[in-house]
Amino acid sequence: MLILGADTSLPLLSVALLRDGILIGEVALEGKGSRNEKLLPAIDWLLTESGVAREAIDLFAVTRGPGSFTGVRIGLATIQGLALALDRPLCAMSTHEAIALGGGHDSVLIADDAGRGEFYISRFENGVETIPPRLAASVAEPHLTIADVLQRTNVAASCAKRAAQLFAAGRVAGYADITPIYVRLAEAEVKLQQKG
């Protein structure tokens, strides 16, 4: 069972390969600029240097935000293209779920800097998402900050690990929704609502 995980929603773009639940390779790169110029080169390098043919991948795991709008779209579009071309299933999950449940934090409050003095937060309790990603003005309780996580953990590897758990539990089919988790509306929509 070979899983390719990818995350392009966060400032560090990452890709990882998991074989039978064991991490066999990972790449992380600063995502500045257009992430499409880094994602496939990173995937290709990882596959080539790991001696893995693309056809050998059984499952694609990808994050769908919250995070960079354009970054999330690039990840989802690229991975969907790969999964469709290779006729393999796809497991798309919230970036926070990948970090929490794929990273071994079964009960945790995840917080990410959303800019403009706000935070994207999610809560997990005993391995279950109890608060899906949303905006918060502040985070008072003890929490896991994504900026810190990024310095310690490869998020794509966490994403692949979470996909492995879901696959083992027969739950991958429930993760076929590829809609990005934007949390925020497009700026123009906010303005239109304020007017109306």
Binding site: E37, L40, R54, R73, L84, A186
Partner: protein, 344 residues
């Protein structure tokens, strides 16, 4: 078989094109309604819509055309110019598909898609491309004449002129809006011009000439004059209909007078052997008066005039796949594709 993908602005389009240029399927998901409340295309919303529509369209195109994945030899995608976030959805999707299929990816310049589009037919193979042709791209965003050579390998495209300010379609739209006609203004002006008589004495529009020997277009002077005349004569949609018609006829005449003036200059400057055909592309190519005049222009010079089918006038992936077919020699590794909002 070439798979074409277009996401540069507000239409998501996917097409399958056979090597002989026949369009097997050309699907378009338009976002016009989604952007209407905002009075223009919102880039972030366009990008969101593209991602929702892209892969459902890819799957439907494959199913509709009854094509197997193995039949697809290359993916052609618009990589510039356009809205960067919108372009990136199509480019990333195309990269994933091409890499997954192990086939080349062809980066297509959206404008080249339009340039070649008059050679696509509703049914059957494309019209054979001549060794050299002129392309006139006239739309709300562009006004340019191109000289296109088709040697073995990749086309050689030379831009002969451009607009220094407003595009011709933009001028139609802005003046139409000023006199109270709805968007898009071109067809509205054309409709009202039909009953009118052009009167260049009453409405003396300028024909801009530059100090150097440039043959660039410039429509801002015509626009300013139109607005001045409309204001001075109280030309409004709810006003005198006959006056409105005469004004529209004269205004439309002035736009085309400049177009043909530049086309004639460009033609005179071309070295022999001159192009055997002229292909017209862009929204303004739908104008009936233009179609008549260009036919006369071509007949007088022995030049074949090619006009696009209606379905290939607006943004579509069939023309992207077709331009990709011409650019197959420039196909790249799917890993190395750069999307750009502008052409350098």
């Amino acid at each position: 078989m070439i798979l074409g993908i277009e996401t540069s602005c507000d239409e998501t389009s996917v097409a399958l094109l056979a090597r002989d240029g026949s369009v097997r399927t050309n699907l378009i998901a338009s976002q016009i309604e989604r952007h209407r409340p905002f009075g223009g295309v919102v880039p972030e919303i366009a990008s969101r819509e593209h991602l929702q529509h892209l892969f459902p369209l890819v799957k439907r195109a494959i199913a509709d055309a009854g094509v197997a994945w193995e039949d697809i030899e290359a993916v052609a995608v618009t990589s510039a110019p356009g809205l960067i976030g919108a372009l990136l959805v199509g480019v990333a999707g195309a990269q994933g598909l091409a890499y997954g299929l192990g086939i080349p990816l062809i980066s297509v310049n959206h404008l080249e898609g339009h340039m070649f589009s008059p050679y696509l037919q509703k049914e059957g193979p494309s019209i054979p491309l001549p060794g050299r042709f002129l392309s006139l791209v006239i739309s709300g965003g562009h006004s340019s004449i191109y000289d296109i050579w088709m040697p073995e390998g990749a086309p050689l495209v030379t831009m002969l002129n451009r607009t220094r300010d407003d595009a011709i379609g933009e001028t139609f739209d802005k003046v139409a809006k000023f006199i109270g006609l709805p968007y898009p203004g071109g067809p509205q002006i054309e409709k009202r011009a039909q009953g009118g008589t052009a009167d260049a004495k009453r409405f003396p529009f300028p024909l801009p000439q530059f100090k150097d020997d440039s043959i660039d277009f410039s429509y801002s002077g015509v626009k300013a004059a139109a607005i001045r005349f409309a204001r001075a004569n109280d030309i409004r949609v709810e006003g005198d209909a006959a006056l409105m018609s005469d004004f529209c006829a004269t205004f439309q005449d002035a736009l085309f007078a400049q177009l043909f003036n530049r086309l004639e200059s460009a033609w005179e400057r071309l070295e022999e052997p001159r192009p055997s055909e002229i292909a017209i592309a862009g929204g303004v190519a739908a104008n009936g008066v233009l179609r008549e005049r260009i036919a006369v222009w071509g007949a007088r010079r022995g030049v074949v005039v090619r006009l696009p089918e209606k379905e290939y006038c607006t943004d579509n992936a069939a023309m992207i796949a077709f331009a990709g077919l011409q650019r197959e020699a420039d196909a790249t590794d799917p890993k190395r594709v750069v999307a750009r909002s502008r052409i350098r």
